[in-house]
Amino acid sequence: MKISVVVPAYNEEKTIVKVLNDLIKREFEFVVVDDGSKDATNKIVNNIIKKYNKGYIYKHLLNRGLGAALKTGIEASLMKDADIIVTFDADRQHDPNDILKVSKPIINREADVTIGIRDFNEMPSSKKFGNRIMNLITLIFYGINVNDSQSGLRAFNRKAAETIIINARDYGVSSEIIGEIKRHHLKLTEIPIKTIYTDYSMTKGTNTGEGLKILVKLIINILK
């Protein structure tokens, strides 16, 4: 089965090399979606693709947000005949060994979609708060209670990737995907994954940030 790893990237020049090298080492096909980065992300990724003759890059000319980037990556993977599509954050917070772990239930045909759940006990308390809130919001608006609604590590089989419709362009996409899973009666399995908290990954991921940050972003969104 062909696994395609979708890596949405926005200004990730510091971490993208390491993430892609990890993927190449494990011989995964990957699709990077450069979401209008203003730093050297695009150049770095193009160099890696040329060097190893592996992987693809899709460049958004304008920054359109995480949801838009994921949609492009999933569409591209479907075009490249992927059987399993895994979404993987570019900030090095995921362990690349978990890719096979989340793909396994799909290979064994036990699930249509899997979501890697991070251990909330290991999560810094500032992040825990924001994630709890987003879990609650997912429960209220989509009526589905999951352990980690905001996880960036997910796997879809072809059927799921084709049926799920992503409209949200920003960080709301994670909750929307879960809502779509419910709407289309897809089989969801949650799998515990490792999370690497570095100083860098701590600064990334707006809605996994502290509750205050969410509040500020909400206000900015209103004023925008």
Partner: protein
């Protein structure tokens, strides 16, 4: 006994809140916007049910009751227009995203074609 305007604004408010929640669920509205619109419409519904609360403000500003109707109507209308505009902008944003996506995919295809052409021309030279 409820007045007609009360029934109308409660009716419009409830429908708009439901519409907002549906739009949010479809990912067509951000959480912040949803909360803002729910708040605005709750205030409108509250004022229509308890119009006497506006008397405090009327006393303060010296506005007589006669103007109230026009004011409420005007505010309702402008909120409606803002909502319309917000929806329009949202549609434009969505179209822009679609355009950016399509460009990204086409660019990738062109790159692939160029590579193929190069490979072919290399073979021809050999």
């Amino acid at each position: 006994m409820m007045e007609l305007y009360q029934i109308i604004s409660i009716f419009i408010g409830t429908i708009t809140i439901i519409m907002c929640i549906l739009r949010f669920r479809d990912g067509q509205m951000s959480l912040g916007m949803l909360l803002l619109w729910i708040l605005i419409w709750f205030v409108i519904i509250f004022i229509s049910i308890f119009p006497n609360t506006t008397n405090y403000f009327a006393l303060y500003t010296g506005i007589g009751r006669g103007l109230d109707f026009a004011l409420i109507l005007g505010i309702l209308l402008s909120f409606y227009l803002i909502f319309k505009m917000y929806t329009k902008i949202e549609i434009i944003e969505e179209e822009l995203t679609e355009l950016v996506r399509e460009l990204a995919i086409q660019q990738n295809n062109i790159k692939k074609d160029n590579k193929k052409d190069k490979d072919i021309s290399k073979k021809n030279i050999k």
